[in-house]
């Protein structure tokens, strides 16, 4: 997925010369023409569906679409029991066709491949069927041809009440993985006194392996079906970890805190969460944990008062016990917002602004902590719990950036406000400058021609080692249909820039590829008030071998 959407569409340019797309659909095995193939071209567009063109192949397999707008299209032909495979071209796993103005593709060879099926059953150690197990076929070589998996080929399935599943898709060699759709209860494991053990299954690779290396390859034949049985491997509960601790500072009365546990595969990036109740003695336990990075915190709502503990982050590779969480009240944060150069008081611009705190590592679902800024630039934010926060000004003036941030007179270096201290709250000072840098220019294809009617984006990177897609909207710009990009309000500093063409650039969904590509670009400096004009070439497959530039 590129952005959040499932399918991306591009708006073809207007008033350009019409294009056409014709060809023959054949069966890739028999080489015979295929009639009745539903040939579809779906225009890429960032915001809304683009135009959709289609044709049905005739008895000779011929299809023809005329009067098309030039642009990039996803090619999604359909025929029951068949799949369209195309060698992988770029970052997006979707077969595509790009038509230039006035271009007439007359003899496109559309080869449809009979689908293969992997069917079978998932059973437990007694041979009893297991329901709601998710089964996935993982292609042996990741660079193989791609097809529109989500449309008609199903590359994953869930077992039914007989433990049965059926996956159909591109023929080839696969590993098949079964993952129990376990509803992991938060509570402690159930107690057994009859000598049996709770059935807990780990992800199992066909036929009964814990890992891919010990798995057997399944060959899914063209136009045929292969039948397999996966025997799930029970996990011993001993291997799972436990984290326990105690919540201190629980107020007298009826309020009972709850403890939230966030987890993830790397420090500071938490993708999952669960919670546990706290006993009358303040104790809590999380069991069945996997090794990884965790963040644990407690909250307690007692009437209108809300108590919260600072979060404790830890890496778990064994059991952790006696984690202490101290509940404290919330504090008030007061402060001033200065927009450098703007008059204050009655002469201040009338635009309403607010200052917002966002808890670091939060999933964005928490309640908003924000305060309105008055004419004198003063604001206060009530009931701020302990924690680490990033500070945002909404809205930022045109071309502005946050120039400095102080907490109780001390500059805050990395923009993260650390309020994990004994007395909550504090006083902050924010200075915003309207003189952010501006960078703009054209995006060029690998031959140096201006890019148009493509799906592309430009990333502005301050630290190549930390670059991520989707992390920070303001440092990512979509390329306009006429091939332009622009950034405003850039904080002075050193940057690199990376342009990605979704259909032809390497797969930047791989974080390492993205970091490597970013490191190989030229660094440049942006000073306050700079207006930089800079054309940029999209990264190509061969750039993945480039050396980092200092």
């Amino acid at each position: 997925m590129w952005r959040a959407g499932l399918i991306l569409f591009f708006c073809p340019g207007l008033g350009a010369q019409q294009a056409s797309f014709e060809g023959v659909a054949t069966n890739s095995v028999t080489r015979q023409p295929m009639s009745g193939v539903h040939v579809r071209l779906i225009g890429f567009n960032m915001d809304s569906p683009g135009d959709v063109y289609a044709a049905i192949s005739d008895r000779a397999g011929r299809f023809s679409i005329g009067g098309m707008k030039p642009g990039a299209y996803a090619l999604m032909p359909e025929f029951r029991g068949f799949v369209y495979l195309q060698p992988k071209q770029g970052a997006m796993p979707i077969p595509s066709v790009t038509l230039k103005a006035g271009e007439h593709i007359a003899d496109f060879k559309l080869e449809m491949t009979p689908r293969a099926a992997i069917a079978g059953r998932v059973v437990d150690e007694f041979g009893d069927p297991l329901q709601y197990v998710s089964v996935q076929a993982v292609a042996l070589s990741p660079d193989r041809a791609v097809g529109p998996a989500t449309l008609s080929g199903q590359f994953g399935a869930t077992t039914d009440d007989r433990g049965m599943f059926r996956i159909s898709g591109a023929p080839g060699k696969y590993y098949v993985k079964a993952t129990p759709n376990g509803v992991n209860s938060n509570g402690p494991p159930e107690i057994r006194t009859d000598g049996t053990a709770p059935a807990e299954y780990a992800a199992t690779w066909y036929p009964s392996a814990a890992g891919k290396d010990a798995a057997t390859v399944v060959e899914a034949p063209i136009g045929g079906e292969v039948n397999i049985e996966i025997r799930m491997a029970p996990t011993s509960l001993q291997r799972s970890l436990t984290l326990n601790g105690v919540v201190r500072g629980i107020p007298e009365g009826n309020a009972r805190p709850s403890v939230m546990l966030q987890s993830g595969d790397s420090p500071g990036r938490f993708t999952r969460s669960r919670s546990a109740p706290v006993g009358a003695d303040g104790r809590f336990t999380f069991s069945r944990l996997e090794p990884g990075f965790y963040r644990v915190s407690a909250i307690c709502a007692a009437g209108v008062t809300r108590l919260q503990s600072a979060a404790v982050e830890l890496k778990l590779d064994g059991d952790a016990s006696n984690v202490e969480l101290h509940l404290t009240g919330a504090g008030e944060l007061t402060g001033t917002l200065e927009i450098a150069g703007d008059p204050k008081g009655p002469a201040a611009p009338a635009e309403k602004r607010s200052v917002r705190l966002e808890a670091e590592g939060s999933l964005g679902f928490g309640s908003a902590l924000s305060g309105d800024v008055d004419r004198d630039g003063a604001f206060h934010i009530a009931a701020v719990p302990q924690g680490r926060f990033t500070v945002h000004v909404d809205p930022l003036p045109e071309n502005a950036y946050v120039k400095s941030l102080e907490l109780d007179g001390t500059p805050v270096a990395d923009g993260v406000l650390d309020l994990e201290r004994s007395a909550p709250g504090g006083r902050i000072k924010i200075v915003v400058s309207r003189k952010g840098g501006q960078i703009s220019g054209s995006v060029l294809d690998k031959d140096g021609a201006k890019l148009s009617n493509a799906i592309a984006m430009v990333l502005l990177v301050d630290d190549p080692a930390k670059v991520e897609l989707d992390k920070d909207d303001e440092h990512m710009d979509r390329v306009t249909p006429d091939g332009m990009y622009s950034f405003k309000g850039v904080r002075p500093g050193k940057y690199r820039m990376l342009a990605i063409d979704a259909l032809h650039s390497p797969d930047v969904q791989q974080p390492d590829t993205l970091k490597k590509l970013a490191a190989a670009t030229e660094e440049f400096e942006v000073k306050e008030g700079d207006r930089i004009a800079k054309d940029i070439k999209v990264v190509a497959q061969e750039d993945t071998h480039a050396k980092p530039k200092p």
Binding site: D47, P49, F63, G81, D128, E252, L369
Partner: protein
């Protein structure tokens, strides 16, 4: 205050915010473990079931430690045993693939067992009913099989109905079904893309979600009767062709320079479509199924959210253009509750008695006012405000829309509302244009009504039947449901006067009864009108069997 009395029964109330009210005490030193054993059988054949998983889930116990879960597997003769059990109250259930817990006379599928210190309970009898299945084919207008069609059990959108996807021969099979009557629906994979442009003379064909055997709406669906352990194998669905419809319009009031405005579409209580609003505020939606849909656009920017009031459109055979949605800032609404009479005030609840023990005064939970949006995803959750001693309350950050105002105590109902100068009869609060800072006055009356009667099957009283009472017309709020007792008796008390529909419903339709359709599918639902303070007696009949 911590209560040191060991025998005091815990007064348990779990509030939505995860706060628990409980009297607590340390575990008693003389507490002896208890044990529970029994047998699990097939409710149809009476045969014992091997390798069934029995669980005892602890609620709150006298010593109020963390609730504990015990488990066991049945062995030969279906027997299980759990020893060294901490005394307390447990909910008991058993599971085995291909089976469901058989319903108890009260209609529930779990039972409670309470064990005291040293108790031995060795006569627990658990019955599992074998699952049924529905299988068939989905075909198009020419009778050709349709692939990758999602076939689901229609629950009215509540609780994921079981489902599957047709294979390349158009076949499907939904297993794991508790015996009952089911409505199934086939939804083709339709990308939300514009109508195709074709220059080869062919015409695009489009199919809408279709109910078994061939209906666009639930009303025309035939329910399929699945017996315990039974399999229906010929549930073929013939998909219905519909025109491709475009819905387009504009979203206004988007904060300047914002890009991330998304539009969601809800049908029934599921999301039926969605799109990104273009930078110029316009949007286009394609291929909505026929029927009523609700549209709402949302702009979200970390922590802040603006949305439009939900707008209902009725999709039929032609395009709907020029739809206008306006973003309205969420409202903070202050107001006051006024009591029409003394009796409308919250009554002190009868003290829950401990087992002979004294009990400290439980704190009075604050009374609340609720704003219930129509069911579904678009309208967000229920909002609430505490009512202070002087009757004042403040609701915060209420998004535009229509809400039902209800109370946390049940000896009164909301008779009328006034927002600023605008009076509103009944409990529907119209905030589609926001509140414009106006104060809300809620007039509360004690004239609640009651409906009661007996459910009969022929001349015999029918126990364990689900009875639903839904406002007429349905306003999307949760219907009242009750189960008839062993003597067939049911009762709804504390209801607001007004018009209702009343019917005995299938368990599988609990969700559907909550949707906009309400009890529309139940042609024999009684239409009743209840006056203030009225006590209405209505006997009900179980419907004759239907379906196949």
């Amino acid at each position: 205050m911590r209560n040191r009395n060991h025998s005091a029964l815990a007064v348990v109330a779990v509030a939505a915010c995860g706060m628990a009210v409980a009297q607590t005490a340390p575990p008693a030193a003389d507490e002896k473990p208890a044990s529970v054993s029994g047998v699990v059988t097939n409710s149809v054949t009476g045969e014992p079931l091997l390798r069934a998983h029995v669980t005892l889930r602890g609620g709150f116990n006298p010593s109020n430690q963390t609730p504990q879960t015990y488990g066991a597997m049945t062995g030969a003769e279906g027997k299980f045993s759990i020893t060294a059990l901490r005394p307390g109250s447990y909910s008991v259930s058993a599971e085995r693939i291909g089976f469901e817990m058989a319903a108890f006379p009260d209609g529930g599928t779990t039972t409670q067992v309470t064990v005291k210190s040293g108790d031995t309970k060795d006569d627990l009898k658990l019955k599992l009913v074998p699952d049924g299945a529905i299988a068939g084919r989905v075909v198009d207008a020419d009778g050709e099989p349709m692939e990758a069609v999602s076939v689901t059990v229609d629950t009215g959108g509540f609780g994921g109905g079981q489902g599957t996807i047709t294979d390349d021969q158009g076949h499907f099979r939904i297993g794991g079904l508790r015996p009952g009557k089911y409505r199934i629906k086939a939804t083709p994979t339709n990308l939300p893309i514009p109508a195709e442009i074709r220059t080869d003379g062919t015409v695009e064909v489009h199919y809408a979600a279709t109910y078994y055997p061939r209906s666009l709406d639930g009303k025309g669906a035939t329910k399929i009767n699945v017996a315990a352990g039974g399999e229906v194998t010929d549930a073929d669905i013939k998909s219905i062709r519909t025109p491709i419809v475009r819905v387009s319009g504009t979203v206004t009031g988007i904060p300047q320079g914002s890009r991330n405005v998304s539009l969601m579409v809800q049908q029934g209580s599921g999301i039926s479509s969605g799109t990104q609003v273009k930078p110029d505020g316009t949007f286009e939606l394609w291929r909505l199924d026929p029927g009523k849909h609700t549209l709402s656009a949302t702009w979200r920017n970390a922590g802040q959210a603006l949305q439009t009031a939900p707008l209902e459109i009725d999709v039929a055979g032609s395009n709907i253009d020029h739809v206008e949605l306006r973003m309205v800032a969420p409202s903070d609404i202050s107001g006051i509750v006024q009591f029409e009479d003394e009796q409308a005030k919250p009554q002190a609840r009868p003290q829950q008695q401990g087992q002979g023990g004294q009990q400290s005064e439980p704190p009075k939970p604050p009374q609340r006012l609720f704003l219930r949006p129509p069911s579904g995803f678009l309208s967000g959750g229920q909002q609430q405000a505490e009512i202070a001693a002087d009757g004042s309350f403040t609701l915060r950050q209420i998004q535009p829309g229509r809400y039902q105002v209800t109370l946390s105590w049940n000896n009164a109902y909301v008779k009328s509302l006034r927002l600023g100068q605008a009076g509103m009869e009944g409990r529907t609060l119209d905030l589609r244009n926001g509140s414009a800072g106006a104060a809300l006055t809620v007039l509360v009356s004690s004239g609640v009504a009651e409906v009661s009667g007996t459910v009969r099957n022929g001349d015999d009283p029918a126990g364990g039947k689900l009875v639903a009472l839904v406002p007429d017309p349905a306003d999307g709020t949760r219907p009242f449901t009750a189960r008839s007792g062993p003597d067939g008796a049911y009762r709804f008390s504390g209801i607001a006067p007004g018009r209702y529909k009343l019917a005995v419903i299938d368990d599988a339709d609990q969700g559907a009864a909550m949707s906009d359709a309400g009890l529309d599918d139940y042609e024999d639902a009684l239409e009743i009108s209840i006056g203030a303070g009225e006590k209405l007696a209505k006997d009900l009949k179980v419907r004759a069997g239907e379906g196949k």
